[in-house]
Amino acid sequence: MSGGSSSLGNVSRISALIVDDDPVIRKLHSAMLKSLGIQFQLAVNGKEAVDLYRSGANIHIVFMDMEMPVMNGMEATKELRAMGVSSIIVGVSSRCSDEEREEFISAGLDHCYAKPLTVAKIKSLLEGIKY
């Protein structure tokens, strides 16, 4: 599974951000994006993600873990939306309860999925990104 998919158009112009404190998840989600031909950056916590945006990064889609040290996914999502960030933010969490999921979504997510993601899920999220 390598290169981009024709159904996604010119995927090399899509940029993504993976925000997760778990190195295994970062490596796994990186490989998935790489297999789809998507450029991506990594952040190990919410603060790094927010700092990236403050430094002017142009990102189309963010994969945001919920629980992270320093600044968690909920806080980071709220901060990004308060800054006026309109990127697609996808919450990724291994938390089970509906209540926790709803709380995360209400922070400003566009979608929320259980981790780990799959290539098929990522592909469906990327379709329709305007760049």
Binding site: D22, V24, A31, P116
Partner: protein, 151 residues
């Protein structure tokens, strides 16, 4: 070539048994599907990362449980991380113990948490051993000039 065929059959049977016994789940298959010519060691790399990170988390868990006043939030955070990484490589039995462990963190039961840590280590070393055997078999096939069969 007979040797390669025998090794390939041994690998397929071994892998099948790991799935049938619930040691690995479909997430491991997802990892294998991400491995290609541009990323030929991907599965070994991710699993090695899991091994390294898990052993770090076991140390943290032991340290946290050893405190006079156990910080259950900290304990839960470590178990949560281990649950996430074990599920991401398909280590189903490790993940299940993590779920149980988190339940005991929630009710602040130190004794059961300590038992869970021991059980977690047992399941972890069990799956580690199985995966190392799997990778050894794959290496033997490659060294004998064969290819890894796709299931």
């Amino acid at each position: 070539m007979d040797n390669v065929i025998q090794l390939q059959k041994k690998l397929v049977d071994y892998k099948t048994s790991l799935f049938n016994e619930g040691i690995l789940d479909d997430q491991f298959t997802q990892l294998q599907q991400l491995q290609d010519e541009s990323n030929p060691d991907f599965v070994v790399e991710v699993v090695s990362l899991f091994f390294k990170d898990s052993e770090r988390l076991f140390d943290e868990l032991a340290k946290t449980l050893d405190q006079q006043n156990v910080d259950f939030n900290r304990l839960d955070a470590h178990v949560h991380q281990l649950k996430g990484s074990s599920s991401s490589i398909g280590a189903q039995r490790v993940q299940k113990v993590c779920i149980l462990f988190r339940n005991y963190c929630e009710v602040r039961n130190i004794e059961e948490c300590l038992k869970c840590l021991q059980q977690l280590k047992r399941e972890y070393y069990f799956v580690k051993n199985k995966l190392e055997t799997l990778f050894k078999l794959e290496k033997q096939i490659m060294e004998a000039g064969g290819t890894i069969p796709v299931q």
